[in-house]
């Protein structure tokens, strides 16, 4: 009978980590990894695999790890997943592969720590013979170098297509580099995995915003097929009075300054970021936790997360919530900001809020928050970060005239293949709305397969 619990992963102490952007979760040692690998029952029917959107042969890579054949284990991982060191860190495993794991179904027992094992193997940095010569005389353009685009590009390159990725920023990774903070996903790790994609022969063209700096039509005409993976990049604001006061930011701005532009190293890096004493972060998703933990690390004295529903409805991963609590973030449930108050210099000084109570379930199945009359109060704050979600970028509507959108402003793509139109495919957040890294990768993978058969059929 296997051990009941996962081998614990060492973490940086909360007191130490609130002052640094060092990675919080420290990873397994080899002994720990092998001990955890032994908990896997090597099930013949592999239920865990069906929980993984990219279909990694999970028992296979675990078995190779157990036999100390890291190279083979790496090969199995990279067969299905071009970015395993990233997924091992940021996948919501508890809702995916690990949810389906047989060991986790045994009462009182935790599933195999598949994500941690994946991270361990990927972190051993085994370099594989990779360069594939373009062998198919077809060119594919991939727009956006986030997880969806990187996956589609890598898979198509592996199949011998010549692939060019167009990316708006100066570096690849999408949300992995501008959204998810360094302390959860070191940028060095992302750079290494991107290097792997480059080693497959994928060409990158940075600083190109398709639909703006190059018309989409031109790309469509020049390439045999196009994959669009441009993410859901526009910030949503609550739009309450006073929203344009100084020191009110979208989480997208705050995190982009800090992560992509490295403002946490200001003034070594030129981009500044505001640091204030009493900060409110609105929302309760993963992005909220990232923003709250970031501003705390930058030196805010008090960080208050304000959410209109209760703890029970909080969409953030429980693990990230716990990390936030450990780091001293203060939570205010059932509280809704309704107006910002500012001083004569337009700096925000307070937030008028109302208390909420929960009523009947709404469309999302969660109980609808209702304002309690007469419950207004003012919360004194000198900075606010709104982290209430992203929508598809405005450029999309103007810049991709040929592409069909649905009623949410996302691209209307076939679910199984990502097909939008002849030779045009799309996947990731731009199709589904904000989702997860691994779902975006799964979509990239499915589209790569569909593009391959389309191009071979077309001849």
């Amino acid at each position: 009978m296997a051990e009941k619990f996962k081998v614990r992963m060492r973490e940086l102490d909360p007191s130490e980590r609130v002052n640094s952007f060092e990675e919080v979760a420290l990873g397994y040692t080899k002994e720990e990894a092998i001990a955890e690998a032994k908990r896997c029952l090597q099930c013949k029917h592999k239920p865990c695999v069906s929980g993984c959107p990219v279909g990694i042969d999970i028992p296979g890579f675990i078995k190779a790890l157990r036999e100390d054949d890291i190279e083979k284990s790496t090969r199995i991982l990279k067969d299905a997943n071009n970015l395993p060191a990233i997924c091992g860190r940021v996948c919501p495993q508890e809702k995916q592969c690990e949810l389906a794991c047989v060991v986790g179904k045994i009462p009182g027992s935790e599933p195999v720590a598949i994500g941690r094992l994946e991270r361990f193997v990927a972190d051993q940095n085994i370099s594989l013979e990779t360069a594939v010569k373009p062998s198919v005389n077809k060119r594919v353009a991939v727009i956006g170098a986030g997880p969806a685009g990187l996956t589609a590009a890598a898979d198509l390159a592996k199949e011998g297509f010549s692939v060019t990725v167009f990316e708006a920023f100066h570096t690849a990774g999408g949300v992995l580099v501008y959204g998810i903070p360094e302390f959860r996903l070191p940028k060095e790790i992302v750079a290494k995995e991107v290097e792997f994609v480059k080693s497959l022969g994928v060409e990158f063209r940075f600083n190109q915003i398709i639909g703006r700096t190059i018309p989409f039509e031109e790309i469509k005409n020049e390439y045999d097929a196009v994959f669009i993976g441009i993410g859901a990049g526009a910030p949503r604001f609550m739009g309450i009075p006073g929203s344009n006061h100084n020191n009110i930011f979208s989480s997208s701005e705050y995190l982009t300054r800090t992560n992509l532009m490295k403002a946490y190293l200001f003034p070594l890096y030129d981009t500044p970021v505001k640091i204030k004493d009493r900060v409110a972060v609105i929302g309760a998703g993963n992005v909220t936790m990232d923003a709250a933990r970031t501003v705390k690390r930058l030196g805010a004295k008090e960080v208050h997360v304000v959410y209109r529903r209760s703890e029970e409805e909080m969409p953030a991963r429980i693990e990230e919530y716990h990390h936030a609590v450990e780091e001293g973030i203060i939570f205010h449930w059932l509280t809704l900001p309704v107006e910002y108050i500012g001083d004569i210099n337009n700096n925000v000084t307070g937030m008028k809020c109302v208390k909420m109570t929960l009523g009947e379930p709404d469309d999302s199945g969660r109980r609808r928050p209702i304002q309690i009359e007469g419950s207004e109060f003012v919360m004194e704050v000198d900075m606010v970060i709104e982290a209430i979600g992203q929508t598809p970028n405005a450029i999309l509507k103007a810049g991709f005239p040929a592409v069909r959108l649905n009623k949410w402003g996302s691209i209307d793509a076939d679910e199984a293949s990502g097909r939008v139109d002849e030779g045009i495919y799309a996947g990731g957040d731009i199709v589904t709305g904000s989702a997860t890294v691994i779902e975006a990768m799964g979509a990239g993978k499915r589209s790569a397969r569909a593009i391959k058969s389309y191009l071979l059929r077309k001849g």
């Binding site: 739009g239 344009n244 532009m261 505001k274």
Partner: protein, 277 residues
């Protein structure tokens, strides 16, 4: 990498710089801008595209802080890591009749492609160019071929009419009844030109230059209230009808990072000193 092809000082703090770029010239239109990142440590610097020709693009830069000082200190042959562009919506250029273009300080530079395009579209173009003093009045000779009438103004009277651009503008409105005004310059100037336009019921395009980060609609740093709605200058603009802009709020947003900007500049100056000493 994008090389500095040439650099010329055209006013005490202002430089006329051509950079190599393979394809901006194919798409750039008047009113659009680009973003430069000088190197790995650099911030993203939005600058208007002053002109673009095959394989090169021109910017006119006023050194106001760390990043623009550094850019203006670069020499021919050196290069910047990144240039993204063209960004923003082009100006709406069409034949309207008599129009007036008003440029203030370094805002004269972004006004240039607009004035040229308005003339080419068959308009009668009246120009008003203003600056603090004679030395800061840039590009006057370049404008001349595209203007039917030209007024100059300086705060100290060292060239043209003494005072701000609104003085000649009042005259132009009274004498020529322009059907549309374009104004680019410091926010305070654009605010007062817009006010005048509003009093005379004349549409007035201004080019907003709020603090930007990505320049692609992804962060909301550049937001401004226009006609009571929240607009992102980088993707919904940068040109808006100035009569609808909430100027007081926008002007205050412009100074949000003053303290950090001071720290950055002081560090830069100190490092320069160490290098030279």
């Amino acid at each position: 990498m994008y090389a500095v092809l040439s650099k010329k000082r055209i006013a005490p703090d202002t430089y006329d710089i051509w950079l190599s770029h393979p394809d901006i010239y194919r798409y750039a239109k008047p009113g659009q801008f680009l973003i430069i990142r000088i190197d790995e440590f650099g911030e993203r610097i939005p600058l208007t595209i002053a002109s673009a020709e095959k394989d090169r693009v021109r910017v006119i830069v006023k050194a106001v802080g760390k990043s623009t000082y550094k850019l203006c200190a670069m020499n021919e042959g050196e290069s910047v890591s990144d240039i993204v562009g063209p960004l923003g919506n082009p100006s709406e250029i069409e034949k309207l009749g008599t129009v007036c273009v008003v440029g203030g300080g370094v805002g004269i530079a972004p006004l240039f492609p607009v004035a040229r395009a308005l003339k080419a579209a068959g308009n009668e173009v009246i120009g008003i160019l203003g600056a603090a003093n004679k030395d800061h009045l840039i590009m006057v000779d370049e404008f001349r071929p595209f203007l039917d009438r030209l007024y100059l103004s300086t705060d100290d009277g060292s060239a043209g009419i003494k005072g701000t651009v609104t003085n000649p503008l009042k005259e132009v409105i009274a004498d020529y009844s322009p059907v549309t005004i374009w104004a680019i310059g410091p926010m305070v100037m654009m605010k007062f030109v817009s006010l005048l336009a509003s009093q005379n019921d004349i549409p007035c395009w201004v080019s907003l230059n709020p603090i930007m980060v990505d320049g692609t609609g992804m962060c909301g740093a550049c937001r401004a209230e226009v006609g009571g709605e929240m607009k992102f200058a980088c993707v919904h603009g940068p040109e808006f009808d100035g009569r609808l802009v909430n100027w007081d709020e926008l002007i205050k947003r412009q100074y949000q990072y003053r303290e950090e900007e001071r720290v950055a500049l002081e560090k830069y100056v100190r490092e320069l000193g160490e290098k030279d000493g």
